[in-house]
Structure formats: structure tokens, C-alpha cells
């Protein structure tokens, strides 16, 4: 009895060794970077964690193929290293000594990648399935690019400034023209004589804080009275 048991166990062990080895058919390498992800809160990778891993893979296959025949014991792990990395393969319990096709395993894991990652508190980068590429999520893009909005705001401000300055300049020039035409009209009518010195009206000279020289201003006393 004992001998039969030992014999079956060794057969099973050899069979498993045949199915699960590096680069075997339908086998995948997994690599975890727990210390990088969690730092001080890192947990040690031991047999319990391996059990959880097997459970997650079985769960993924069950969810994917919707049949509840995959068992935890169907998932075989081997060649675990200190890194932490190991190979795994899923055997098909219905057919003896065969493995579930790699494409099915890949699809199942892709579908449930998020759940598997969260079970281990890791992400796509720190829990790597080496042959299974993950679909990277694109960054969220708003419908109008942000830069166009900012550009529009700045453009409106600048154009408003230009229009304001141009219009103010035109108004200023119109006022100046009106003043000068008014003065010209008055000059023509001879009502107002504008004293001009070197082409500059004396009024502006006075306004520019000019000084009146008293010697020349009091010119009625310059001439001796008749």
C-alpha cells in the first residue's frame, strides 16, 4: 500500500517536473518586485503567497472559460528564485498530462489582470508576466486640448488691448485735428491773433513753464514817452 502510494507520488512528481520547467510549452515566467513596490511594507514571498497565486490563476481561468473545473492543484509552480521569479503552467485535469493552451491562459490573465494585481498589492510593472504584454491605458485627453483654451484666452486679451490702443490713438488724433482746425479757422477770421515764435505757438511755450523776463516784458517803459 505504502509502496503504491510512493510510486504514484513519484510518478506525479516526475510528470509535474516534465510539464513545468523553464521554456516549457504553455509555461509562463512571472517576476515580482515586491520591495520596489511596497518599500518598508513589503511582505515576504513564501508558500502562502504561492498558494494565493495559484488560487488567482485558477480563478482567472474559471472566470474566463466559465467552467468550474480548474482546481488550485492544477496550477504548477517551479524554479522559484530569490528575485522573486518563477515559472508556472496550468494542467488540464480532465485530460491526463496535458497543459491548458498558452493562449487561453494568456487571455484569462489579461482579462483579470487588475484583480490579480490588487490581490498582491502590485501593478503591471511590479508583477510581470513576461510573455503577456499589458494594454497600457492612454492618458485622459479632454475633447479640446488644454493648450488651445489657454491660447484662446491670451489671444483675446491681446487683441482687446490692441483694439483699445488703436481706437484711443485715432480718437486722440481726431481731437488734435479738430483743435488745430478750430484755431486755423479763428486765425483766418482774424479774431484771434496767435503769437507764434519759431513755429511754436506762444501759448504752449508759456505752458511749458517758461519764464517771463521782467526786463523785456515791461516794454512800455523802454521807449521814452513823446
Amino acid at each position: 500500500m505504502l509502496r503504491v502510494l510512493l510510486l504514484t507520488l513519484s510518478v506525479v512528481a516526475i510528470a509535474h517536473a516534465e510539464l513545468c520547467k523553464p521554456d516549457a510549452q504553455n509555461a509562463f515566467k512571472v517576476r515580482l518586485s515586491i520591495k520596489t513596490a511596497l518599500g518598508d511594507n513589503a511582505y515576504a514571498w513564501d508558500a502562502n503567497e504561492e498558494y494565493l497565486f495559484k488560487a488567482m490563476v485558477a480563478f482567472a481561468l474559471r472566470r474566463y472559460s466559465n467552467k468550474s473545473t480548474t482546481q488550485i492543484s492544477d496550477v504548477l509552480l517551479c524554479n522559484a528564485t530569490d528575485r522573486v521569479s518563477f515559472w508556472f503552467v496550468v494542467t488540464d485535469s480532465s485530460k491526463n498530462m496535458t497543459t491548458v493552451p498558452g493562449s487561453e491562459v494568456e487571455a484569462a490573465i489579461r482579462m483579470n489582470r487588475n484583480r490579480i494585481n490588487s490581490a498582491f498589492l502590485l501593478n503591471d510593472k511590479t508583477l510581470q508576466f513576461l510573455k503577456i504584454t499589458s494594454t497600457l491605458s492612454p492618458p485622459v485627453e479632454p475633447s479640446t486640448p488644454v493648450w488651445l483654451i489657454v491660447f484662446g484666452v491670451v489671444l483675446c486679451l491681446i487683441v482687446a488691448g490692441i483694439v483699445f490702443l488703436v481706437v484711443a490713438g485715432i480718437q486722440q488724433r481726431k481731437k488734435k485735428n479738430k483743435e488745430s482746425t478750430e484755431r486755423e479757422n479763428l486765425e483766418e477770421k482774424g479774431e484771434v491773433t496767435v503769437a507764434v515764435e519759431n513755429g511754436i505757438p506762444c501759448e504752449t511755450l508759456d505752458l511749458k513753464a517758461g519764464h517771463i523776463n521782467g526786463v523785456f516784458a515791461a516794454d512800455d517803459e523802454r521807449f521814452t514817452s513823446l
Partner: protein, 593 residues
Amino acid sequence: AMEKSRPLWDNPLQFVFACISYAVGLGNVWRFPYLCQMYGGGGFLIPYFIMLIAEGMPLLYLELAVGQRMRQGSIGAWKIISPYLCGVGVASVVVSFFLSMYYNVINAWAFWYLFHSFQDPLPWATCPLNSNRTGYEEECEKTSSTQYFWYRQTLNISPSLDASGRVQWEQALCLTLAWLVVYLCILRGTESTGKVVYVTASLPYCVLIIYLIRGLTLHGAVNGLIYMFTPKLEQLSNPKTWISAATQIFFSLGLGFGSLIAFASYNEPNNNCERHAIIVSLINSATSIFASIVTFSIYGFKATFNYESCINKVILLLMNTFDLEEGSLTADNLNEMKDYLMATHPQEYAQLAPQLKNCSLEAELDTGGGGGGGGAFIVYSEAIKNMEVPQLYSVLYFVMLLMLGIGSMLGNTAAILTPLTDSRVIAARFPKEVISGAVCFINCVIGLIFTMEAGNYWFDIFNDYAATLSLLLIVLVETIAVCYIYGIRRFEKELHTMVGRKPNWYWKIMWAFASPLLIISLFIFYLTDYILTGTLQYQAWDATQGQLVTKDYPGYALAVIGLLVASSTMCIPLGALGTFIRKRLKSERVSTI
């Protein structure tokens, strides 16, 4: 007729700020630190200061004095000095025109980066995904995400000058905005420019101080500062060091464009331009040094960050290949572990060897990103993306670049507009708003060339050749004209009337001997350099390799270069010839009567 008085600055401070705003530009923040790094670190300051005293200050004082005395833009001012020199003024205007054509593109890029700074994460922080979302874009993988953002998403650069490509509408929009901003600032002449320069001169200093505090507290900043300031005095024997120092002072102050003459022409006649010349040149150089402290802290941070990432990548690669425990490989024991692994697993190690890059902090510090325009954008954006709250620093930096660029553009456009508004032919017919608008519009349309896919290559052509040789010739003629044609005694007397005292022997010796000699030697150096290197080459971006490759300029590009240099330099002899012929004709007409 009523005399229209010349517009003036509201106070001398506006004039000083305008000069500082014009002189302090991208060159101080970017090119000077790059030169410092290339030519001996702290030792570069020695030739720099010697050149400042030998050519910077004297030539600056000369231009300001000419502008303030003649009270005209460059064309009018040189015509007064001697009628044969009207070509000098025209050459200045032509060079300023070329400069304003391409310089505003830098402002367009600054706007582009500024508008893209309002996102989280910054768009140049990560690579975009490829079409089937399994990884990153191939081109981005080969180079870094910041270089990809610059070369592909900003410039959309073509592989060579020949492949012109289409106008990039996003860049065209930014360029239009940049010209509208410039128009807004120059629209009312000194009235508006005088107020704007308060902002454009002072804001960059505020940002630089913030960056100084931030930069010095970054991890690894000290590495950059040590690298920059350790003097490598052996570089002093390299003639290129002295040439670069002289060139940097020359172009940093913006001599020869006519902008300084234009600014000074709006001064009161008794303004103390001697004091202002000394102040502006000292502030310009001090800003260069201050900015290089900031830039080198940022450099050091970026280099240290890249170096540590490189080391981490090597560690990860070794850990994954040999399935070693996490944490067993650190930066400290990396070398010993590498030797150990090489000894114990020679075959696998040999297979891995091509991927194991030798990470070196020195090499990272050496990659400056190039002295060209792109360097300023690439290096700083790379450093910013690794800081905390990167959006804030990004906005600050690009607003500062904008202020620097717009300040310089104000000077450039003043150099073009002042002669135009002085000339009675044009100014009588059109108000100055229309003239400024026309100049901005023409420049904007021509500037669209630089927004094409090959635009950056044309930009480099203009940047390297449009101003360099011509300016040297213009300033040389200016100095010789003032000293020997106008006469240094006469000039002395004018300065005595204006400033209140005669220039002392330092100024006179520099004007009469030192500066012309320096410029002649610079000129000879450039010419021999062009002749010796034979054909001219440029750096083209190769998207398949993800790096720059050197190519020869095609024939028509060389023709354009020749045209650029000739069109400004030929103005000088042609102007003299034209005046000579006109005088001959006049005297003949008089004699025949």
C-alpha cells in the same frame, strides 16, 4: 509749420530698463552657461571680463552717445556723421530685419511650451503610446520624452533641409500671437514701450531668484555647480575660448543692430549716457553669471537624476537576468557585483554586455543639449518634469523666456521702426500705428517659413549666419568712422556738451585702438574658420535613430547664406558709392550751369 517734438522716455529709468531688457536675453540665460561649461568653467570668466572692458563697455558707450547726440535712428545718425556712411545705417536696419524675422519664433516656442504647462502630467514627461497601445512610440523610446516632445510634437521636424513639409498650424498660431504681442508693445512708440520694459526687465530677475532658491535646494545641484566653477585653466590657451568670450560680449550687448542708437535717440540731450553705458554692461554681465549659477544647479540636478536612473536601469537588468534578490544590488556595490557576475556566469554576462551602459555623471554633465535654441527648451523641460509641482516651475520658466524674448524683440523692432518714422517720406503719409503694423505683418508672414517641418534648419541658418559677420563689419566701420572720420576731438567735445565731462583716456584708447583691433581679429578668425572648414554642415534629426546626424548644406541653402551676409554687408560700400555718385552729379550740374 508746427514743429513736432521727438517722443521722449518719461524718465531715464525707462531708458536704462529698455537697454537692459534688450541686452538681457536668451543668450545670458542659455548661451553664456553653455560657453562657460565648454571653455573652462570658472576660468572662462577671465577672458569674459577682459573682453567686457576692452570692447563691451566702450562700444556700448559709443553707440549710446551717437544715438543721443544725433537724436535720430541709425540711418539718420550715420548720415550726419558722414554722408558716405548712410550705408552703415541701412546695413543695421537690414540685419535687424533679418533678426526680427527669425527671433520671434523663439517666443512662439515659448508660448507653445507655456500653454502646454497647464496639464498634469506635463506632456513632455511621458512618451505617448503607440497605435496598438502595447508600448510607447518607437521614436520616443529611442530618445527621451523631452527630446521627442521638442523634435516631434513641437517642431515636427523633417529628416533634412530638403524635405520642407507643410506649415505646422499650431506653430503658425503661436507665431501670430507672438507678433500680436510685439505689436501691442510697440504700437504707441516710446509711450507704450517705456511702460512695457518695466515688466520685461524686472520679471526675469524675479523668476531667476525663485529658480535660484529652488535650484540650489535640488538633489544633485551641487554637482553641477562644482562642474561649472572648477576652473580648467588650460582652456585659456585655446584661442577659441577668447574668441567665444569676445563674441559673447559683442552679441549679448546687441551692438551694431541700431537698437541702442534708436533707444538713445529718445533721450534728453543731457542724459548721462556714460554712466548708463557702464551700468547696462555691468548688469548684463552680472545677469549672465547669476543665470549660469541657476542653470548649472538645474544641470546638476538633471545630470544626477539621469545618472541615478541609468544606474537603476543597470541594476534592474542585472537582477532580472540573474534572478538576484531585490536590494542585493545597490549603486555602491554595483561594480564589485558586476565583476563577480562576470566571473561566475561569463556566457550570460557577455550576452548582456552590449546593453549594460557605463553610467557616468561626467558624461551626463557634458551633454549640454547643444548651444542652439533647442537646448534651452530641452534641458530645462527635462529638469522641470522631475521637480515637485512641475506645472508651477514650468509656467514660471516659460514666462521668463517670453519676457526675455519680447524685451529683445522690442529693441529689434525699434531699430527698424525708428529710421522709418524719422524719414519724412514715410512718416508724413502713414501714422506710426500703420507702419508698425506693416512691419509686424510682413515679418510674421515671412516667419511662417520657420514653422514648416524643415523650419528649424532654416532657423539655424539665420541664427548662425544672418547677423554674425555683418555685425562685426558694421561695428568696425562705426568705430573707425567716429574715431577717424568724424574725429575723436570733435566727438570728445560733443560728449563734453552732453554729459558734462570729457571722456578719459580709457575710453579714447579703447575706441581708437583696442576695440577696432579686437574686431578685426574676430573678423579674420571667422573668415579663416569658414574658409578652412570648407563646406558648411548642419545637424539634422534622424527619427529612426532618435538622435542628431551631421549633413551638408545643399547648394541653394549655401546661396541663401551668401545672400544673407552679402545683403547687409554690401549696403556699406553701396551706400558710400551712391553718395559719391550723387555728389559728383550735383557738382557737375552746378559746374555746367
